[in-house]
Symmetry: C2
Subunit: 141 residues, 2 copies
């Protein structure tokens, strides 16, 4: 038996479960502010040393907006057929990685963006706040 917290038909996941799910993800979304406007960008990512890392192009809006900012990062996975799924939200400071050691680890992690183009800038997000939800199914709804 285990204790499960349920909120609005959603099972709340603890930090450990969130980290495990983050490690299974491949595409996540980063929310940043461009000027005064919010924006969301999908990225291929990997977990390296418990941080979220992704590659982007040098001088892109995404690298400029995320460097030094607190950003939100989300990963989810859904099954349309049985209407089940989960999502994890990580919030924390982001920075462009300038440390060669981390860069090599990213290369070792085989983080290859789906898209081509030059994506030599590595951004790292340190997940300070982690929350996750899983749809447990509700026979009443």
């Amino acid at each position: 038996m285990r204790l499960v917290l349920v909120d609005q038909g959603l099972e709340l996941l603890d930090e450990r479960a969130c980290m495990e799910l983050l490690r299974t993800g491949e595409v996540g979304r980063v929310a940043v502010t461009l000027g005064a406007l919010p924006a969301i960008f999908p990225v291929n990512f990997r977990m390296v040393d418990d941080a979220i890392v992704f590659r982007t192009g040098p001088g892109t809006k995404l690298s400029a907006a995320s460097d030094g900012a607190v950003v939100a990062f989300e990963v989810d996975d859904w099954d349309r057929a049985d209407r089940s799924g989960w999502s994890v939200l990580a919030v924390g400071p982001a920075e462009v990685v300038r440390d060669a050691d981390v860069a090599f680890k990213v290369v070792d992690a085989e983080l290859e963006p789906f898209a081509g183009g030059e994506r030599s800038t590595i951004v790292r997000i340190d997940p300070v706040i982690l929350s996750g939800r899983r749809i447990v199914g509700d026979p009443e709804s």
Copy 2:
């Protein structure tokens, strides 16, 4: 023949293509600010009268943060096997729908959230800025 704009290995989609893709989506993500912190929430959505609509619980963080705010909304679809996919970003003002006519249209659109729980609040996002990208594949990468 058609002219295709390509940015960093990504084909840029025009507004019409973005709207068409939005109509095929089922799960999207909303970026809002909670206090001073950014957050991303996945939602089941439908397009009603060219606006994005989703249901949430009354009094939730999501309905409070999105009512009256300019928010970002993102939908994407990826194929891990052939590393292809697309994403659409819509930015615009959001509001809690208090008009019964719109509420009835949402019911007609059979917008049923995957999760149970009470989700009687309808939020509408008017997409003022639309941008989209499709991975066209890059034999060089």
